[in-house]
């Protein structure tokens, strides 16, 4: 009975954790800010009326004031170009034509600031919609689904403009069916930096003809970014690439100059994001967030180098105005004055008026206050503009003062709108943190926990406290909205509070016990400070980025300690085993390079992927599969009660072999490993279908074995866990990239090394926790969303099925940590599970606190938010895992470890 009570308590506590995490997420990310409203041509203001009551409105002649002022627009996006490529003589000697254009003031160069995350997809969104993509936006759009918001592309389509596109295929995913002609290049092969650009440039010949029918041409060049990834901005390939880009600019400019059209054409060259000094991007360093915006108008002077800094989103209203299109509704950009030089003063003023009207609508919908200083400017601007229109005597100076008023109003509203995206519900965040702290305290002192009845009177008291806090602090948290849904939410939270507070035992007792029982175990003296440092490292953004380094260092230190200890005890076999494990871990560490510091470093995985090294990859694959086969057989032997060889085992071994062969054949089909002898026959035998059949047969066999198992010495539970381990390994061997195939084998080896030691539960669990994170990183994952591998989602799928793909991606990403957890519960049973939950809650609790403290940190969106998502994901995984294990424990009737000892 004790087990049931304990497991129910643990389940309850993990549910509390999940609930607290979800509350935190809800409070942290303001969901639902995406509006799908689109601008219409009749959104362009037709009247102006400074006061609602007295004066009569002024009617605009919209057609005359707001129209197309350019003939053709070429938008050339160069992926990863930095601002100093245009300004520093080190780089711009390679771009003589462009530099001359700027120096002769025939074009202008703006210093543009972009927002994090500096990766292509959100930046394209910012360039086209004028919004600042929130972090959660990136996550919700992981599959790069079509943009729902209003964008300049949409507006161009609505106005029947011909838009053509050549370049990065992300655009095609974001704007399906928007382009008249298009050709996508994939950014998948980083080592390809010539083909990817030639595939874009070859279309120019057809498109740059006098008879061209397009209105907007978008070119997205990826090669420069690829060079950056491989060699950084100072790569030897960079000068050639820059002069290639310069030639393309020259070609387009020459074409535009030769055009015979009244209206000028415009060429805009910009970068979507910059690059770091080591070539990577994604963060918020100066090199990444400052990009050039180069504008060339045919036969018009522009300002040359322009000092003032503009935002990337400012591009959107400006281009809309010069093309005479409605400004996208959700745009947060302000007009760029220099780009509007072709227009006359009437048109410029009207454009400013329209832009601020559009911004004002957004501002009001974001609950902006009307009593700010910039809102005064806004009112005054409208007033003066109205006066200016009425007076009919054109005075340029007055117009400029109106413009500056509009500009100040625009920047104020724009800042507010951008800031309101990052709006936190601090009250909810604090409540969720308090909830997770309670859970943590209960988990630390788990044995003393005794869940008691809910006292209704307390519920009433806490409800009153909530009401009092809400009224007193005047906060606009969702908890203070007295609607049915949020009242229900509040009462659920308060119920959890009461249960948690009522079930505290005597918290200090377990700490004392810990000290007494583990005094003679000096592994704990290493492990405890280690986990303390690990928790502390969450406070540093660079340690979050480089968490794998810290964990590897801690683990290597522990291994070295074991080597030393076993050596002085003269148990040389164990020493050799530990040294071997260190070597294997060192190899695994180099398989994939992750983290900011080593971005662009050539990893072992890259080497294996190169086509001339295919034979080595094949060898690695075969060795890895053999190791997995051996490991599976070994694990299977362990769970078998009777050592006799029977027919069922034979079948199971054959099935193991079958699945692994199918995995190899699948990789042959994807052309990653060498073709074996007798390929045609093997292909038929070991197809992916046969893999599925064999795997499901194995489930059946293992279930049969588990049921047949006698329930002595926890045999049933052990064999069930071992079966899950084997099935998961076989599944992972299919999903993992070929060069990662050795990782699960190393995992099994390491976990076997840790098994059945006399160390106490806390030590073992902490070690397994480190290992789970380490293998998560070995596989190529990291704490940034960019490394999430979505290719395994498509294995064996003929059509896109989001559920199956999701399960595959989840298994691929979290499969190795779950394997480590399985080895942990195999060794430690229920107490290990409980300690694991405790460690997990410690991590997430401290991290929530960190985010609360650092919510205005510069890197909050680029570094801290992805890590938050990963931590929540880990917590959910642990929750699902512990629920599964508790069910298994109950089904198999396993006694807890403690009772076993008694």
């Amino acid at each position: 009975m004790r087990l049931t009570k304990q497991s129910v308590t643990l389940l309850y506590l993990s549910s509390c954790t999940i609930f607290a995490n979800l509350l935190f997420l809800y409070g942290f990310f303001s969901f639902g800010y995406n509006d799908s409203r689109t601008s219409m041509p009749n959104d362009i203001p037709s009247t102006i009326r400074p006061n609602q009551n007295d004066s009569e409105p002024w009617r605009f002649d919209t057609r005359r004031l707001y129209h197309k002022s350019v003939n053709k627009v070429v938008l050339m996006v160069i992926d990863g170009i930095r601002y100093d490529f245009f300004t520093e003589s080190e780089y711009n000697v390679n771009m003589p034509f462009t530099t001359d254009l700027i120096k002769q003031n025939r074009s202008c160069l703006f210093r543009t600031r972009v927002n994090a995350p500096t990766v292509t997809m959100p930046r394209i969104k910012a360039l086209t919609t004028g919004t600042v993509p929130n972090f959660i936006d990136l996550v919700l759009n992981l599959d790069s689904s079509a943009v729902q918001q209003d964008s300049i592309i949409y507006q161009a389509r609505a106005a029947n403009k011909q838009v053509i596109f050549y370049g990065d295929e992300t655009w095609l995913k974001l704007f399906p069916n928007s382009f008249v002609r298009h050709d996508g290049t994939t950014s998948f092969y980083i080592s390809d930096y010539t083909e990817v650009d030639n595939n874009v440039t070859r279309h120019l010949e057809n498109e740059l003809k006098p008879t061209a029918d397009w209105d907007i041409m978008i070119l997205h060049y990826l090669g420069l970014d690829h060079i950056g990834h491989t060699g950084g901005p100072r790569s030897k390939l960079m000068p050639n690439k820059l002069s290639e880009m310069d030639n393309i600019i020259r070609r387009i400019v020459n074409y535009m100059d030769s055009e015979k059209s009244e209206l000028p054409s415009v060429l805009i060259v910009c970068g979507d994001h910059g690059m770091r000094d080591n070539g990577g991007h994604g963060g918020s360093s100066t090199g990444e967030v400052v990009v050039p915006l180069f504008v060339y108008f045919k036969n018009k002077k522009c300002g040359g180098y322009i000092k003032e800094e503009i935002m990337q989103t400012d591009f959107v209203p400006s281009i809309s105005v010069i093309m005479g299109l409605p400004i996208p509704s959700s745009s947060t950009g302000k007009l760029i004055n220099k780009i509007l030089q072709n227009l006359n003063i009437n048109e410029i003023l009207f454009a400013y008026h329209y832009n601020s009207q559009q911004m004002y609508t957004n501002y009001i919908s974001k609950k902006g206050l009307l009593n700010k200083a910039f809102m005064k400017d806004y009112d005054n601007a409208i007033l003066y503009y109205y006066d200016w229109l009425k007076r009919e005597t054109i005075s340029i100076n007055q117009a400029h003062s109106v413009i500056s008023l509009y500009e100040s109003a625009l920047s104020g509203m724009s800042n507010y709108i951008i800031g309101s995206i990052a709006k936190f519900d601090v009250f909810l965040i604090i409540v969720s943190i308090v909830l997770s702290i309670q859970v943590w305290l209960l988990l630390v002192d788990f044995d003393a926990v005794n869940i008691q009845f809910i006292k209704v009177s307390r519920l009433v008291y806490l409800m009153l406290i909530r009401w009092a806090v809400c009224v007193w602090l005047q906060c606009d948290s969702v908890l203070c909205e007295f609607t049915a849904t949020f009242n229900l939410l509040a009462s659920v939270i308060i119920t959890m509070f009461i249960i948690n507070l009522g079930s505290f035992g005597w918290p200090i007792s377990s700490l004392i016990r810990l000290e007494i029982s583990d005094f003679n175990n000096n592994n704990l003296f290493y492990v405890l400070p280690g986990s303390f440092i690990h928790v502390l490292s969450l406070f540093s953004s660079s340690y979050i980025e480089e968490e794998h380094q810290l964990l590897y260092h801690l683990w290597a230190g522990f291994s070295a300690l074991q080597v030393y200890k076993t050596f002085i005890l003269h148990s040389y076999t164990t020493t050799a085993k530990w040294i071997l494990s260190m070597i294997l871990h060192r190899i695994c560490k180099n398989l994939n390079t992750i983290g900011n510091q080593s971005s662009g470093v050539y990893s072992l995985g890259d080497w294996f992927r190169e086509s001339q090294n295919q034979i080595y990859l094949t060898i690695l694959m075969v060795v890895g599969l053999c190791c997995i086969f051996y490991a599976s057989i070994n694990i299977h032997r362990v769970i078998k009660n009777n050592k006799r060889f029977n027919i069922l085992s034979a079948i199971i071994f054959v099935l193991y072999f079958w699945t692994l062969c199918s995995v190899y054949m699948y990789r042959v089909e994807t052309k990653e490993v060498a073709v074996p002898y007798g390929y045609n026959i093997l292909k038929l035998t070991f197809s992916l279908h046969s893999w599925t059949i064999a795997w499901y047969l194995l489930i059946g066999c293992h279930t049969f074995l588990v049921i047949k198992q006698t329930n002595r010495n926890n045999n049933k539970f052990n064999s069930a866990v071992c079966s899950i381990i084997i099935l998961l390994i076989l599944r992972l061997s299919l999903l993992l990239r070929p060069h990662n195939i050795l990782v699960p084998a190393v995992l099994v080896y390491t976990c076997k090394l840790l098994q059945f030691k006399i160390w106490n539960t806390l030590t073992t669990t902490t070690l397994h926790y480190w290992l789970s994170l380490m293998f998560f990183f070995y596989q190529g994952n990291s704490n940034s969303v960019g490394t999430l591998d979505i290719v395994p989602g498509y294995i064996g799928q003929t059509s896109y099925n989001p559920v199956v793909a999701g399960i595959h991606i989840f298994t691929h990403t979290y499969g190795l940590p779950i394997l480590v957890y399985l080895f942990l519960v195999l060794d430690q049973k229920f107490s290990g599970l409980q300690t694991l939950c405790m460690l997990n809650v410690t991590q997430s609790c401290v991290y929530n606190l960190v985010i609360l403290l650092f919510r205005n940190h510069l890197f909050i969106w680029s570094v801290f938010s992805p890590k938050l998502l990963y931590i929540v994901m880990f917590t959910s995984t642990t929750y699902v895992f512990s629920a599964l294990i508790i069910i298994l424990l109950t089904l198999c009737g396993t006694s807890t470890k403690k009772e076993l000892e008694i």
Partner: protein, 258 residues
């Protein structure tokens, strides 16, 4: 252990005097005047003070004026040679002080054999520390020079003092026993502490590498090498503190007695 100097005699005396306090004070008649005079001529204190001073100087010098840049390539041989010089000077000082003490058994060693052993153990230790640097994550194909220099520095700080002081018993000392601490001479205890503190210093020194400050002193061997030197320095300082503590205890024991 063949090597017995006065220090161990005193130590034995001390431990026995603790015993005496509890059980039978009259059994062991210690010539207390002798202890006091010999304690002043203690052969441990002055070398430790000397080497601590030198290492502190080296440490401060390294941090001044970007001298740590020397640590990344073969220029760091200057620092390594300095370390060797300090250790040899320390040993010379130590042996001079020991030779002034009269009643002691001098260990007889063959200098050629001793030198041979020293070289062999150094080469072995460089190899082992190179291996472990790699296993701890030092780059394998690049920066070999840095890694090599780091392992030589580690050897200089860990093995050299031990090898000079103890000659043949170096490997068993560092690698085998850990339960017989009571029988160790103070030199051995010191060397063991030195081994642990120096390694720990290097281990902790790596903590600054992941930060994104992008300073030049975050490059691979610099923080770890500085950590090694700092650990070694702390081990020396710790020894002085221990000596102080022991002396104080001796005096207090004496005061209690009389």
């Amino acid at each position: 252990m063949a090597k017995k100097n006065v220090r161990s005699v005193i130590k034995k005396l001390e431990s026995s005097s603790v015993l005496i306090n509890s059980s039978n004070p009259t059994e062991y008649k210690a010539p207390s005047a002798f202890i006091q005079t010999e304690a002043n001529k203690d052969p441990e204190l002055i070398p430790h003070c000397f080497s601590s001073f030198c290492y502190l100087g080296l440490f401060v010098w390294l941090l001044l004026d970007r001298n740590y840049n020397l640590l990344i390539d073969r220029n760091s041989m200057i620092i390594i040679v300095t370390c060797y010089t300090i250790e040899f000077a320390k040993f010379a000082c130590h042996s001079y002080l020991v030779s002034r003490i009269t009643n002691q058994i001098k260990p007889k060693t063959n200098p050629i054999f001793w030198a041979l052993q020293f070289i062999v153990s150094t080469v072995l230790a460089v190899g082992v520390s190179y291996l472990f640097s790699i296993l701890f994550g030092a780059p394998l194909t690049t920066k070999q020079e840095q890694t090599f220099v780091f392992s030589v520095l580690a050897t200089a700080l860990i093995i050299t003092p031990t090898a000079i002081q103890l000659g043949s018993s170096i490997l068993p000392l560092l690698l085998t026993d850990c339960f017989e601490t009571e029988f160790d001479s103070t030199v051995e205890v010191f060397e063991k502490n030195n081994f642990r503190a120096t390694i720990l210093g290097g281990f902790i020194g790596a903590a600054v590498i992941p930060f994104d400050w992008e300073t030049e002193w975050q490059r691979w061997p610099i923080p770890c090498s500085v950590g090694l030197i700092a650990g070694h320095l702390l081990a020396n300082v710790y020894e002085i503190i221990c000596w102080q503590f022991k002396t104080l205890k001796k005096y207090s024991v004496k005061k209690n007695k009389f």
